[in-house]
Amino acid sequence: MSQKMITAKPKAASSTPRPRWQRVARRFARRPMAVTGLILVVGFVLFAILGPILLTDPNQQDFTAILQTPSFAHLLGTDDLGRDVFARIANGARVSLMAGVMSTALALIIGITIGLITGFYRGWVDVVVMRIVDVMLAFPFLIFAVGLAAILGASLTNVIIALAVSQVPEVIRIARGEAMAIREQEFVSGAVADGARDGTIMFRYIAPNAMSAFIVQATVAIPAAIIGESTLSFLGLGVQPPMSSWGIMLTSAQQYLAQAPYLALFPGIAIALTALGFNLLGDGLRDVLDPKETR
């Protein structure tokens, strides 16, 4: 066999190729918004882990110091029972983040699997699944979660399950749509010609190409689930005292809006910053994980 000429010219002395994750990390680092999002999310996670260890007991009541405005002793003030708001926000972060992230992760795993399968195979399974999904989507997300939590009973695990199941129909809808669109693309025929199994096609060809849709869904769903948790807790269907969450703090602050508006303000800010963090992080991830994006 004669040695063939290599006709494709190499890019002028390209620097030694880095592993893919390093290139992705570099591109990520070059996006200030994405980095801000990462800092916010990591910050809140650390805060949730370390806060309750380092700060004062969030359940420590002090009736000599109720409804105090922020001071050095109580950075974010105290509530109607004289508990330190900063310590309570750190404590509530655990429940809020867990409920938001775990329920969304669960919903994505279940919904993507079902959606890819039904969208890929179509047929009667798809018809049946989509009937059920349509019925579920007819209920607002929260109504569904409330109903489910009422059946399951009040606990953190059940809150996560209720929020996850309520999110699943939307994820199925998105994943199915992506699967139906992507399976028509020629590279999927190419994979069939390669000899790829159906599972390989769904999870190595279709899922990676639908990644941006899934990331966008996750960044929208996590904040929604955090707020969903607060609603469930407000209705007495969420975590029970002495456990707390930002949602519980927000709703119990309602009675004192006139006297102590900061009681509602700080958990509200925590929810908003977390939502912002996940949104920025998600946008950044979507961009840097897309190989077509070169910046």
């Binding site: 063939k4 290599i6 010219k9 020629e186 010609a193 000899g195 199994r197 159906d198 190989p291």
Partner: protein, 345 residues
């Protein structure tokens, strides 16, 4: 010595159902309507025909990317036309495809190395190190620098992508490659280099090829034998030299007369014959010869009786026309009067 052909297609039919199930206005698209093809070992068969004649559908049925409506497809002697997806899987090491559009035929989320390794992975060939060696060898054979292994398809030019598609199609050493207009989407300057790579690789590796194109100069360059398709049927097939020397079917004559030629003294250089009318819709069922409505020399029999693909003047040159006779050969369409625009050039 009669060697077993790599591919034997007989009476292949693919009808697409279109229109709504409920509306009642359901129509059938007769994309492929009884096609016979044979490809010998190491042979490149060029399949030509105008847009919509059903060439891609033939290719995709043979690669079992589309389920044929009926007919048999023998790959290395085995009928694959009714195999399930699962049964077909192991046979996919014997047939692969190169698509027209190198932008959509490669997974945008995989690197060049991954794309070319995929067939080996799916068929569990070799260890990781062996696969890497095979892939490097294949990339080199298709003229790609090894530096491209870690690149994504969008970082490559159209020609480079088509080389990747070729490497991927050939990496398992298939007996048959179906190339569906592999150079039509490329710049003319790049087309020749890709065609040369295909020819070189064919000599080195010995695969057979169904080469689909609508470009006569491409088909003339690459084919050993040529089949001309019109409205879901093969109307003529012959060796390349024979077909260009003595086109028999009126449709082939018209097709060749319209093509630019390098050799002005050849029969087809004298006069351009432009057919009137368009390709009829493949949804209507046509009685008789599919070409009769546009044929300048059609007679009554053509509208009633379907002509068979027969080797009237010799077994290696088959055409489906009532007017081809052993004594007089082919009808001359520029002497017909109907449906014709003469255009001396």
């Amino acid at each position: 010595m009669s060697e077993q052909p790599v591919l034997e297609v007989s009476n292949l039919v693919k009808h697409f159902q279109s229109g709504s199930r409920l509306g009642g206005g359901r129509t059938v698209v007769r994309a492929v309507d009884g096609v016979d093809l044979t490809i010998g070992r190491g042979e490149i068969l060029g399949l030509v025909g105008e847009s919509g004649s059903g060439k891609s559908t033939v290719g995709s049925c043979i690669a079992r990317l589309t389920q044929p409506s009926s007919g048999t497809i023998r790959l290395l002697g085995r009928d694959i036309s009714t195999l399930s997806r699962r049964e077909m899987r192991p046979l996919r090491s014997e047939v692969h495809v190169v698509f027209q559009d190198p932008y959509s035929s490669l997974n945008p989320r995989m690197t060049v190395g991954q794309i070319v390794t995929e067939p080996l992975r799916q068929h569990r060939r070799g260890t990781r190190a062996e696969r890497n060696r095979i892939v490097s060898d294949m990339l080199e054979r298709t003229g790609l620098s090894l530096e491209l292994v870690g690149r994504f398809p969008h970082e490559l030019s159209g020609g480079q992508r088509q080389r990747v598609a070729l490497a991927r199609a050939l990496v398992l050493g298939p007996s048959l490659v179906i190339a569906d207009e592999p150079v039509s989407a490329l710049d003319v300057s790049v087309q020749a280099s890709i065609l040369n790579v295909i020819l070189d690789l064919q000599i080195d590796l010995g695969f057979s090829c169904l080469f689909i194109t609508h470009d006569l100069s491409v088909v003339e360059f690459i084919s050993d034998r040529i089949a001309v398709m019109y409205l879901g049927k093969i109307v003529e097939t012959a060796t390349r030299a024979e077909l260009f020397r003595d086109p028999q079917h009126p449709y082939t004559q018209a097709l060749l007369s319209a093509a630019p030629t390098a050799d002005p003294s050849s029969a087809r250089g004298r006069e351009r014959i432009i057919l009137s009318g368009d390709l009829p819709s493949p949804t209507e069922e046509i009685s008789g010869c599919p070409f009769h409505a546009r044929c300048p020399v059609a007679i009554d029999r053509c509208t009633n009786e379907v002509p068979l693909l027969l080797g009237v003047t010799g077994p290696d040159h088959q055409s489906a026309c009532h007017l081809v006779t052993a004594e007089n050969g082919a009808p001359l369409i520029n002497q017909g009067d109907k449906n014709l625009v003469h255009n001396a050039s």
